[in-house]
C-alpha cells in the first residue's frame, strides 16, 4: 500500500503530522489499526485462497494429481488454520470494527487505544508463529484445523508451534473483545442510547461477549495439546486413563461459539447496508439487536452437535439437537427483517447492496443445510462428508466473506476519500457469485452422494462432480481477483468520494472524508436513530 498517495488525501492519513512505517505500526489511532488489520487479513485471505485452489486442483481427478497425500493433509490443515484464525475470526471485527465502531458511537477512539495496538501486535506475532510452524520442525501440521487428539498428540509434524501461535491469536481476540465491550459501555456520545446504537456496533457487542467468554476455553485446550506433546501428561490418552472425547468437548465449547464470532459481525454489516440502499428505516431494529444477543447466547450451548457420531447418550444428542434448532429462530428473525426492510423500498443495486443481497441468499442456504446437520438422523448420513464442507463454506464464505466485501465497498471509500469503479465491481461480484455456487453447491451434492471430506483420493463415480467443483473454484477466484484489483486501484486513484453519497444516517457519514484523527471536532450530540434518515437530514 503506497502511503504517499494516500497521505495526500488529508484526514487521519496525514494530520498526525508523522509519516513512515513507524507512524502506522506504533499508532494507537483506531482507524490506522483497523487498516493494518485489513491489510493483514486480506493478505492471509489470499494465502488461504491459494491453498484452497490447490486442494481443489488435487481433487480435480481421482488418484494423485499434483501433490502427495502428506502434502494434501498439510494443505487442508493450513488452509483451515489460515482461513479460520487469521482471516475470518479477526476479519470483520478487528478491521472494520476498529475502523467504524468508535465513530458510530460518537467516540474519538476505543476505550483502551494502547491495548488495541497491543492486540494488533499479538495478532501479527501469532500469525508469524503460525507461518513459521509451516516451514520448520517436522513440516506443516497435518491434523486438520481442529487439532483432534490423539493424532495431534502423536504426529511428528510441527503441531506444537502452530498451536502456540493460535493461542496467541486467541489472546489478541480476547483483548479486542474487552476493548469493544468497554468502549460500547463507556464511550457513547450524549444521546447515543442503547436503542440508537447502529446494528453493526450491536453485532460487534454480541461478538465481543462471545470472544470474551469462549476464547479462554480454546486457550486452555491448546495449552493442553502442547503439554500432551511435550510432557506426556496423558489427559487425553486412553492408554493413560485419559479421554479423547474430552478434547472434542473442550475444543467445540470454544469453536462452536467461534462460528458466531465469525458470522455475527457479517450480519451487522448487512443490517447497516440494507436500509441505506433501500432508502428505508430498518424493519424491527430491536428484534435484530436482540437476535444478535440471542444467537450469541444460544450458540454457546450447541457444541455437542459436532459429536453426534463420536459416542454420546441419546438424551445428549436430543438436547444438543434441540438447542441447535433454537439458533435458527434468531437467525431467521434477521433474514425476515432484512427482507421486510426491502419491501416497498427504493432499492439501489450498487456493489455493497449486491454483496449484501447475495449474503442473504447464501447465508440462508448455509443455515438451512445446517439444520440437516443439526438433526441427528440426517447428520449420521452426511457426517464428515463434503456436505459439511459445502455447508460451512456457504455460511463462512457466502456469509461472512461476502459481508466482508460488502463492508469493503461500503466503508473503505469513506476512509480513503476515493472510490472504486462500479462496473468491474459488479462483474467481479457476478463471477464470485456464480463460481461460489458451482463450487460449494456441488460439494453439498457430492456429500449427499457419500464423498467423505479430507480424503486424498475418491471413487470414480465422484469424478464428474469434483471436476465441476474445481472449475467453479476458478470462476470464483477470477471474481475475487477482479474485486480486489478494482478496490485497490479505485481506492488509490479513483474518483473522489466526499460527503454522504450512500445517504447513511449513522454517525460515520456526518464527519469529513477521510475522517480526521480525532474523528469529531467536538463531541457530537445524538438526536436521532441510526436509520432515521429524515432525522439525519438525508433527503
Amino acid at each position: 500500500m503506497s502511503q504517499e498517495t494516500a497521505t495526500a488525501e488529508g484526514g487521519f492519513w496525514s494530520d498526525s503530522g508523522k509519516t513512515g512505517i513507524g507512524s502506522w505500526i506504533f499508532s494507537t489511532d483506531h482507524k490506522r489499526i483497523g487498516l493494518m488489520y485489513l491489510y493483514c487479513v486480506l493478505s492471509f485471505f489470499m494465502v488461504g485462497v491459494l491453498l484452497g485452489v490447490l486442494i481443489r486442483l488435487e481433487l480435480i481427478a481421482p488418484g494423485p494429481t499434483i501433490v502427495t497425500a502428506q502434502t494434501y493433509n498439510a494443505l487442508f490443515t493450513v488452509h483451515g488454520v489460515v482461513m479460520i484464525f487469521l482471516f475470518i475470526i479477526p476479519g470483520i471485527p478487528a478491521s472494520f470494527g476498529n475502523l467504524v465502531l468508535p465513530i458510530q458511537l460518537g467516540a474519538r477512539d476505543v476505550a483502551f487505544p494502547r491495548v488495541n495496538l497491543f492486540s494488533w501486535w499479538l495478532y501479527v506475532i501469532g500469525a508469524v508463529i503460525v507461518l513459521v510452524s509451516l516451514f520448520t520442525g517436522g513440516g506443516a501440521p497435518d491434523t486438520g484445523w481442529t487439532f483432534y487428539v490423539p493424532f495431534s498428540a502423536r504426529t511428528t509434524t510441527n503441531v506444537s508451534l502452530a498451536v502456540f501461535g493460535v493461542f496467541i491469536l486467541g489472546f489478541s481476540s480476547i483483548l479486542t473483545g474487552i476493548n469493544f465491550v468497554t468502549t460500547i459501555h463507556r464511550m457513547r456520545a450524549p444521546g447515543m442510547t442503547w436503542t440508537r446504537i447502529p446494528l453493526f456496533t450491536w453485532s460487534l457487542y454480541a461478538t465481543a461477549w462471545v470472544q470474551i467468554l469462549a476464547t479462554p476455553i480454546i486457550a486452555i485446550t491448546l495449552l493442553l495439546v502442547v503439554t500432551e506433546r511435550i510432557l506426556g501428561l496423558g489427559l487425553f490418552d486412553p492408554s493413560r486413563g485419559g479421554d479423547p472425547i474430552m478434547f472434542q468437548h473442550m475444543f467445540w465449547i470454544y469453536s462452536h461459539p467461534a462460528v458466531y464470532i465469525m458470522i455475527l459481525p457479517g450480519m451487522g454489516v448487512i443490517s447497516d447496508i440494507i436500509p441505506v440502499f433501500s432508502r428505508k428505516p430498518i424493519f424491527g431494529y430491536k428484534m435484530i439487536a436482540f437476535s444478535s444477543l440471542a444467537i450469541a447466547a444460544a450458540g454457546s450451548a450447541v457444541w455437542g452437535h459436532h459429536m453426534y457420531t463420536s459416542g454420546m447418550s441419546d438424551l445428549g444428542v436430543m438436547v444438543f439437537s434441540f438447542l441447535t434448532f433454537l439458533v435458527a429462530i434468531p437467525s431467521a428473525i434477521k433474514v425476515f427483517n432484512w427482507v421486510s426492510t426491502m419491501y416497498k423500498g427504493s432499492i439501489s443495486l450498487e456493489a455493497p447492496m449486491l454483496f449484501a443481497l447475495s449474503f442473504i441468499l447464501l447465508f440462508s442456504i448455509g443455515g438451512l443445510s445446517g439444520l440437516i446437520l443439526g438433526a441427528a438422523s440426517t447428520d449420521i448420513h452426511v457426517h464428515d462428508t463434503h456436505f459439511v464442507v459445502g455447508h460451512f463454506h456457504y455460511v463462512m464464505f457466502g456469509g461472512t466473506g461476502f459481508a466482508f466485501f460488502a463492508a469493503a465497498h461500503y466503508w473503505l471509500p469513506k476512509y480513503f476519500g476515493r472510490r472504486y469503479e462500479e462496473k468491474p465491481a459488479i462483474i467481479g461480484w457476478v463471477l464470485m457469485f456464480i463460481g461460489f455456487n458451482v463450487l460449494y453447491f456441488t460439494m453439498q451434492v457430492l456429500g449427499m452422494e457419500g464423498m467423505p471430506r479430507r480424503y486424498y483420493d475418491y471413487l470414480p463415480e465422484f469424478a464428474r462432480l469434483n471436476f465441476v467443483a474445481t472449475v467453479g473454484s476458478w470462476i470464483m477466484v477470477a471474481g475475487i481477483l477482479i474485486v480486489l484489483w478494482n478496490l485497490w486501484r479505485g481506492l488509490l486513484k479513483g474518483e473522489p468520494f466526499t460527503g454522504n453519497p450512500w445517504g447513511g444516517a449513522t454517525l460515520e457519514w456526518s464527519i469529513p472524508t477521510p475522517p480526521p484523527t480525532e474523528n469529531f471536532e467536538e463531541d457530537p450530540v445524538v438526536t436521532h436513530g441510526p436509520y432515521d434518515f429524515k432525522g439525519a437530514g438525508v433527503p
Binding site: L213, P216, I220, L223, G234, M250
Partner: protein, 199 residues
C-alpha cells in the same frame, strides 16, 4: 464519556472482563478435574493423600497474606502514603517469592520420588493416578506462571509509584494489578482444597 478525562471506571470494567477470561481459563482445568474425579474417585483419593499438606497449608497462608498486603497498598496510596505503599508492595512480592520457593521444594520432593509427568512410576501405576498428578502439575504450574506474571506486574507498579506516576489522584493501575493478584489468590483457594484437602 469525553476522551479528555481518564476513565477509571472504564479501566476497572476492562480489568474485570479480563479477570473473567482468566477464571474461564482455569475453569477448563477444573472441568477436566471434575470429569476425571467422577471417573477415578479412588485413585484421586490416594493421589491427594500423597500431597504434602504442610507445604500446601503454608502456601495458602503466604498467599493470603500477600493479598492482604496488596489490598492495604491500595488504601495506602489513596491516603497518599507513598512509603507505606512501596513497602506493602515489596511485602506482596516477597510473599510471592516465598510461595514460589515452597512450590519448588514441593515439586522437587515429588519429582525425587519419581512422580512427574511421563515418569515410569506413573506409567506403571493405575491410570487414574497418572491423570491426578498430570492435572496437579498442570494446574499448579499454570497457577505458578500466573504468580510470576503477577509479581512482575507488582514490581512494575512499584516502580511507577516510586516515580509518582501513580499517586493518590490516579491509582487505577495499582488497583487493577491488585485485582489481578486477588484472582491469583482466588484460584489457589480452589486448588488447595481440591487437591490437598477433600480427597
Amino acid at each position: 464519556m469525553s476522551h479528555l478525562e481518564k476513565d477509571a471506571f472504564g479501566a476497572k470494567l476492562g480489568m474485570w472482563l479480563f479477570l473473567f477470561t482468566e477464571i474461564l481459563l482455569f475453569g477448563g482445568v477444573f472441568l477436566l478435574y471434575s470429569v476425571y474425579l467422577a471417573k477415578y474417585p479412588k485413585e484421586f483419593g490416594l493421589g491427594g493423600k500423597q500431597l504434602d499438606l504442610v507445604y500446601g497449608a503454608t502456601n495458602t497462608v503466604v498467599l493470603l497474606t500477600s493479598s492482604l498486603f496488596a489490598a492495604m497498598s491500595v488504601t495506602a496510596i489513596k491516603r497518599g502514603a507513598k512509603k507505606a505503599t512501596l513497602s506493602l508492595l515489596t511485602g506482596t512480592i516477597g510473599c510471592a517469592f516465598i510461595f514460589l520457593f515452597i512450590k519448588y521444594l514441593e515439586w522437587s520432593a515429588k519429582i525425587h520420588h519419581g512422580i512427574y509427568p511421563n515418569s515410569p512410576k506413573l506409567i506403571e501405576g493405575p491410570p487414574g493416578e497418572s491423570i491426578f498428578f498430570g492435572l496437579y502439575y498442570l494446574t499448579t504450574g499454570l497457577h505458578g506462571i500466573h504468580v510470576i506474571i503477577g509479581s512482575v506486574l507488582m514490581a512494575w507498579t512499584a516502580v511507577m509509584v516510586q516515580r509518582e506516576v501513580l499517586h493518590a489522584g490516579d491509582n487505577v493501575t495499582l488497583e487493577n494489578v491488585t485485582l489481578y493478584w486477588h484472582l491469583v489468590d482466588l484460584v489457589w483457594i480452589f486448588i488447595f482444597p481440591l487437591y490437598y484437602l477433600i480427597l
